[in-house]
Symmetry: C2
């Protein structure tokens, strides 16, 4: 007789029904692979008749999530409600009941990670979250297990499909942000309101999880410098392309000092110019990718769908499989949590982070302007690597593009503020950072 | 007191010393992550003073591999000897002693997989082999665990770094195979003799392992149609590029019938034209990549260094970590082997496999030649999708490029044999398959 593990799920909408459907389709295969049978016992839904892409049998559904959490037969609870409110209550309640929890909820982990992991530890159970970052890509497993022998000097992630879709279309079509966003909303690739995605918060949640895992201390979301993609204009995309770059929203986790266990780490999210020849530049549309540099393994890339019911279901069920094997063997928490919540690591403030820059100024085309600008940069010890000034008419406002050498963000911020005050400079300077992946 | 697991290693050359070095560097971190201390107890080497990139302490070394296998304190034996002769004896001896074995040896698995896995099962221990395919990329773990909820309609792998290096340089520089090979040998990217790599056998070993894992039955190497890259000429690379393709050596594992547990599978290795826009076309140099299509997760890509002491060490140590956790928890074989050696699956013979084709003929430029060629193809029901004939001088030999629609390999083989016999055709037809990743 094959051992059986009972699953309960909270959330029966798009993703929840996707998980149920994938299990219906491949559950028998999974049992053969694992030597454990997985069975759904109860699925808590908002309403029996809420719209869902795949059918869930009426007999499995309940509208009371407590029935899932308190069912003594259920060993694994899958949380797919989303958000940071009721989901927190549900996950804490399930952990308190001694149930293993599988979640895809990055917002919840970002807001309440330490509390949730402490609760899991207290009750001797595991909290799995593969689906919270990069959808179907097994990036959490790869970092924790596949790359267990590595330190991580740098991780660069395209972790938000909505932003990548918008930026890819802007790059391919020379379109405006607002137009592409509106169409993405029509097509269901962006939500209304789109803030969580386009303002970078979703990417922040995921980048924080990757950073915590890679560096072993909990990175609080307040410490993650985050900029969204609203500031990326068609004009900047075009200038970037002329210079051999494309603009992507990157989650960046980079070790800044190479010595000591508590070396400082850059953890940030912002639109970044990346060279067209780099493999991340080819990641287009709603796809996600994670470029991981391990000190032993070298450079690697993981690529796949970062969202959607099916990709998410694949990741959720891989967590369920791991949890089921743990239950089969009586090893509830097989891989210890990598994150030591007692440990204080140092996240480098943005002003101290060194990078290269793309700067676009709107200047009056008259003699001496470039001299004044370069003087300000020179005084701040910021080097100019190249200048592009499209031909204009004397006395008119023209764009002036500067590519700057490595410099601290704080110094550049201050210099640009000064430059913005020059009378010949007609609009606030636009700045994006440039990543060379050295 | 943290539990300790003792390691023994057979092979102390390039890769072996790489594993030892990575453990020296990150062993403490691994122990913190795993809650298990890993310690090297004995390393069997060919000679104490054989050249190795990293030092191994004299006290750890022995020239008698039996001392590693028979040391009762050693729990995990790492085999890095390579080849299919003495390595087989060593692995079988270690398994018979109840030791967990970690190997990077794809040739050994390809030649003796069923025997070795049966021995592991008999002795209740595990045989790990992450490093055998795609070096540092955790592709075995991702297929078995990350994608446990998926069936695999298609897997395409650039799994041999030497071939990819040669083809990348031929594409970038318009260079000849022989010249690039000679230089690759000088740089240490290709061995002397280079047959195992350039004739496709190394790729065959790895593709067989991926196919077996993906489809649950052991794919014998005799059933893997294998062609190397010696037949790729500078001229074909250039014509391919004109048509929007590049040529890569691909390991292909594709399900050909969608129904039934025993559906037939294509498992093959050959130089393939792939569209420049496809993500695999950007995988250059010694890098490897594996494009995995899961029926739930969709399209994914894994990319990284496929060989070298450090990338291999990362994979070997990830297997060691898994094995150590199994020893810690007393769950020797946690994830059952996916491959059912009793099961007979069907590998489709090459003649039955349907694909598209690039054909280059050397023809005398005179009226009626194309008519004769097209008549032979039409009689075999093979459609022509495009024709390229560079301008020549009447009566002279010129290349004629045909792109053919989907057709079975057998039919195309026979048609090309007939075409080769036409008096106007001056050399044996050159044929490469074209992959469109639909």
């Amino acid at each position: 007789m094959m051992q059986k593990v009972n699953l309960g799920m909270i959330g029966g909408g798009t993703v929840g029904s996707g998980v149920f459907h994938a299990w219906q389709h491949n559950g028998t295969l999974m049992a053969a692979r694992l030597g454990v049978q997985l069975g759904f016992r109860k699925i808590a839904v908002k309403a029996f008749d809420e719209p869902r892409p795949y059918r869930i049998p009426r007999a499995l559904m309940t509208t009371h999530w407590q029935e899932v959490v308190h069912d003594p037969e259920i060993q694994i609870v899958i949380e797919l409600v989303g958000g940071t409110g009721i989901a927190r209550t549900m996950v804490l309640a399930a952990l308190a009941q001694g149930k293993t929890v599988v979640t895809a909820n990055k917002a919840l982990l970002s807001a309440h990670g330490p509390e949730l992991f402490a609760a899991a530890a207290k009750h001797g159970v595991n909290l799995h979250y593969e689906a919270s970052v990069c959808g179907g890509i097994p990036i959490i497993k790869s970092l924790r297990e596949g790359f267990v022998a590595n330190q991580f000097p740098a991780i660069y992630g395209i972790v938000n499909g909505t932003c990548n879709y918008i930026l890819s279309r802007m790059a391919a079509e020379g379109a405006d942000f607002a137009d592409v966003l509106a169409e993405a909303q029509k097509l269901g690739y962006a939500e209304t309101p789109p803030d969580l995605d386009v303002d970078g918060f979703d990417a922040q949640h995921k980048t924080g999880i990757l950073a915590s895992l890679a560096h072993g201390f909990w990175v609080r979301h307040e410490n993650i410098h985050t900029e969204g993609i609203r500031s990326v204009s068609r004009m900047d995309m075009q200038f970037a392309q002329q210079l051999g770059y494309t603009i992507k929203l990157l989650g960046i986790v980079k070790r800044c000092q190479m010595r000591g266990a508590n070396s400082a780490v850059q953890v940030s999210v912002y639109p970044t110019l990346i060279p067209n020849a780099h493999v991340l530049a080819s990641v287009n549309g709603v796809f996600n990718a994670c470029f991981v540099r391990g000190d032993v393994v070298g450079d690697t890339l993981f690529y796949g769908r970062g969202a959607g019911k099916d990709a998410t279901a694949s990741a959720v069920l891989s967590d369920v499989a791991d949890a089921a094997l743990d239950l089969k063997h009586g090893t509830e928490v097989r891989v210890p949590p990598f994150v030591d919540h007692a440990r204080k690591g140092r996240v480098l403030p943005m002003d101290e982070i060194v990078s290269r820059y793309y700067v676009r100024l709107s200047v009056v085309d008259k003699p001496g302007v470039l001299a004044k600008i370069s003087a300000i940069l020179a005084a701040a010890k910021i080097g100019i690597s190249s200048v592009v000034q499209p031909e204009g008419h004397e006395g008119e406002s023209v764009p002036l593009i500067l590519m700057l050498h490595d410099a601290p963000n704080g110094a550049v911020r201050k210099a640009l503020a000064k430059i913005g005050q020059l009378t010949a400079v007609k609009a606030a300077p636009v700045m994006f950072r440039v990543e060379s992946f050295d």
